[in-house]
Amino acid sequence: MSNGGGKTGRQLEKPSTWKRKSGADDFAQAIAKIAVAQLLEGQGFHSFQQSALEALSDVAVRYATSIGRSAHYYANLSGRTESNAFDVIQGIEDLGYVQGFPGASEVDHCLEDSGVVREIVQYVNEVEPIPFVHPVPRFPIVKDRKLTPSFLQEGKEPPAEHIPAWLPAFPDPQTNTLDPTGDTTGAEPHAANGKFDQEREKNKGDWSMLSSQQQIVSGMFEKPTFTYLDDAKAKKAAVESNPFLAPPLKVGEKEVAPIAPPAPPAKLFNNVASDNPVARNFLDDKSVSVLETFTPAIEAMKSTTYDSGEDQTKHVLNEKPTVRFKIGVRNKFLGRSTGLSPEKEHQKTLPWFAMEDEKDDRKRRAEKILRESLQNPDQFVQL
């Protein structure tokens, strides 16, 4: 694709490098696409446009869903919860009224004799069955949930009389808190992310076995939320209520992945491109020199001024981190960041976002690359 003129020229992303956000239904959609592609092939098509396939498979899925909904509705209308064949036939008929089928206009027709059924029978008799190419597992997979046992199940007595025995038992007092007051219930910080809650639930049993020291160590590497607990009780209140208001961690307390700060370069990239094209340039087949790629960005950076985070950027530029990295196909790079203390504080308050948002992470990597090139304009990044 041709670049636009002047400084705002940029490269277009290749469709193969687009990374869509994964949705909950991706697996089923993919299977539907394969099935529809097989049907197209059976009809005689040699190939298809991606967008056309996606549209048609989406329509097919909606068709099936719509039959299901109508069938369920007709069953409910007759006072049943389970649908039977006639509900399904009526559902198919409902969708067939648009195109029309023989006998559609008959008000009181017999459902067994319905035109749709006859047409389906005809189709089945005429067409050779094309089996689906891949074996499909049953999905969605239901995971076994290990529920916290209740007071009754554990054989314990609830601590106070207002607590019924069938409720889940309280965790062990030494589980989470290192607080001298030994407050068992309120010691856990409220994680902003539901995912951490589930993980915490699972590991509650394991945690009670560990000593407090071990908990700190394991917490550092696995669960960032628990690192807040190793401070004195003065911070407990803040931790309890809002992890964002918790005091920042000191340098070296927590291992963080080396990522660049989410500074103004992100804004620039947002203006210039939609989805981090800079990093994707490296995935181009033709080798593009980094300097060329970043020239517009560098020039723009020098010219524009930023409101927030400017000091941070300057701070960053003054330092010279010893980062060695290699850009691979999957756009990952190994690096060690040293002496990036000012940003660490900023970063540590964003563990959830950093983990959740892939896009931000890539943006930060790109900014890191940018910093590197700014400091060593003569040195080309090794791809």
């Binding site: 190939s47 056309a52 396939l53 039959i67 039977n84 006639f86 089945v124």
Partner: protein, 139 residues
Amino acid sequence: MNPNHNPQSSDGGRHDDDAALTEFLASLMDYTPTIPDELVEHYLAKSGFQSPDIRLTRLVAVATQKFVAEVAGDALQHCKARQATIPKDKRDRQQKDKRLVLTMEDLTKALHDYGVNVRHQEYFADSPSTGMDPATRDE
């Protein structure tokens, strides 16, 4: 089970229909639809459809398959019709005939007859200022 009874047909006729339907449902188990059962079950479960009978899921799968096949057939006809009308000499057309590609254009036309209105982007531009006069373009 059957609330609508047709006064015209005799009792024998109704039994025939019964038999035909049950026979068909049984035959469905022999026919393997291209759309896998698990997929159909997933989407039916999503829509609230509940039935212990697998033949019904097969019925839905076959109905969907038939629908897709019909749409594909219509799109194929549109595609072929378009190829036929292109004024090209025989040599070029031979080559083009071999590539039947499902395009959004044909699909839109085919789906329109089924009451599904699909809109798609005609083209995508690099940036809002692509194609504009270079003098007026924002730098």
